[in-house]
Amino acid sequence: MTSVLDQSFRGWWFPVVRSQEIGLRHIHRSQLLNQELAIWRDDGGQINAWENRCPHRGTRLSIGLNTGAEIKCQYHGWRYASQSGQCTFIPAHPNMEPSPRYCVNTYECIEKYGYVWVRLEKDKDKDEDIESLFVLTEKLSLTTLRSVYTMASTTRIRDWLINNCESQLKVNSPSLDCSLTGIQQHHSFCLEALSINNQTEKSVTMFIYLHPLTDDATVIHPLLNASISPEIRLDELRRYNRLFGTIRDVCETDNV
């Protein structure tokens, strides 16, 4: 078993939240590999993934204010600029130009395939393009489904999906109207599966991204390799949410 704490994973790109969930003037609090993050968008649409900690007195920036161009810390009102993380204003010294060393720790982030992707460190040996995270090269038509927060380690979820899902899902939850089959692993945090609608017997490919929050908490980001027509969209979203909710419930119960 590999711990998610393995330092080498800090150089990997992870999807951390659906792009559309990062609205204007919001600050999304998350974690990646035990590192707390404050993710926010400026009014120009640029996305930021910052260490969730004011460098002044350690206050979580996620309890602060997104002004549209800066984050204003809730404790002392220090302001930090979008993109650079540089402190622009210290209210206690309104006439002082903040020194360049007053700066938030920022992380690389990009928006792709409907998600905000973050990596904590640049990986010198593996500076791959993010496209290579996908094995499929043809034009993708993607639908991000509801991300499911799960109080279980990434290893536990991955192992259960690979070894037990196909045989046990129906047993655990006979009322589910869809199932997963042909689950294969692309890398430690990305699986691919065929999702089958039990009524129509239609199947769709999907990617299952595992986003390790901490050693024992994971977000499952299911990404459908298909578009859904508007008239059945809500029903489909609910169907997949039930599926991954069931997977969450199973993985959260103790592994006997």
Binding site: G58, R60, Q74, P91, A92
Partner: protein, 308 residues
């Protein structure tokens, strides 16, 4: 058998180099307000990670002892008892052998002051973080808007912060800050002068000009019980010159202020206070916080801190 294990626990800890409470073991630590204590009732608490029990007799004698492994036992053996005292209306316990005199707070004895215990609140942060917040002026407009501060009056003018050699405490003077509604007695905004004292690693006292009689200073103190390295009980004490407001009004004002600080404190990362001055960025307004961190380092206070 039970009594001897109770007797041994503190001394075992004192000799354990890994126990961060080692360097403050002899100090008096607050464990409760006399106001809130019923006579002859056993109270359980945790001090410096050590579970203890205390009670107060009819004659105001305080007895405290370390809980044994088989639970809390009333110990009749004087040798198993911890050193205790009552000071400024609070119960104090030492897990070791107290050597220093109790810090001075002469205002407590001034006849025209009202001594009020506002409340005891558990906070999920280290005791030093709670003290440092109490010593901070710059947060007033953001955390206490409308009372202790108001944007855009955010400037912190330079003030004096020193570590006193003889008194072994930290002192800051000439701290000026504009406040819209500084006290329950205040009716309008004005620039208030503060004096801060830190006479104990986990206790701080502030003096601020009285809203009615500018020549006198009101006293607000925070006596913090270090429970674990990342949890503390904050006791808020006031010695006010105020013949207008009820105790309830004074208490609820102080409680409202502290309840505004609490979510800030519980959202500080890390929960322990870093003593390496480069771990967190400071500006001139943080002169007192910086002096406090230096002083904790000088005294080798490890419980609730991240040593350099």
């Amino acid at each position: 058998m039970v009594e001897s294990s109770a007797d041994q626990l503190p001394s075992q800890l004192v000799n354990d180099p890994a126990w961060p409470g080692r360097t403050v073991v002899d100090d008096w630590q607050v464990v409760g307000s006399l106001d809130q204590i019923e006579v002859d009732v056993n109270y359980q608490t945790v001090l410096l990670d050590v579970p203890i029990t205390f009670n107060v007799t009819e004659s105001r004698e305080v007895r405290a002892w370390v809980n044994t492994r088989c639970g809390s036992q009333t110990s009749s053996s004087a040798s198993a008892r911890l050193k205790t005292c009552v000071q400024y209306g609070y119960i104090w316990v030492s897990l070791g052998q107290p050597t220093q005199n109790f810090f001075e707070m002469p205002e407590y004895y001034e006849p025209d002051r009202r001594n009020i215990h506002a409340a005891t609140i558990r906070v999920k942060v280290s005791a030093p973080r709670a003290i440092e917040n109490f010593l901070d002026l710059a947060h007033f407009p953001f955390v206490h808007p409308g009372t202790l501060g108001e944007e855009p009056f955010t400037e912190v003018k330079d003030y004096d912060a020193v570590i006193l050699e003889e008194g072994d405490e930290v002192l800051a003077q000439k701290c000026l800050f504009w406040q819209p509604n500084a006290m329950p007695t205040a009716t309008e905004g004005y620039e208030v002068e503060y004096v801060y004292r830190v006479p104990h690693p986990y206790c701080a006292i502030l003096y601020k000009a009285n809203a009615i009689d500018m020549n006198r200073m009101d006293v607000v103190a925070i006596f913090v019980q270090p429970v674990s390295e990342e949890e503390c009980n904050a006791n808020m004490f006031l010695a006010m010159i105020d013949d207008q407001n009820s105790d309830t009004a004074i208490r609820s004002f102080q409680l409202m202020i502290f309840a505004q600080d609490k979510p800030i404190l519980e959202n500080q990362i890390p929960k322990r206070l870093p003593l390496n001055l480069r771990a967190e960025m400071s500006a001139r307004c943080d002169a007192l916080s910086t002096a406090y961190r230096r002083w904790l380092h000088k005294r080798d206070v490890r419980f609730g801190t991240i040593p350099q």
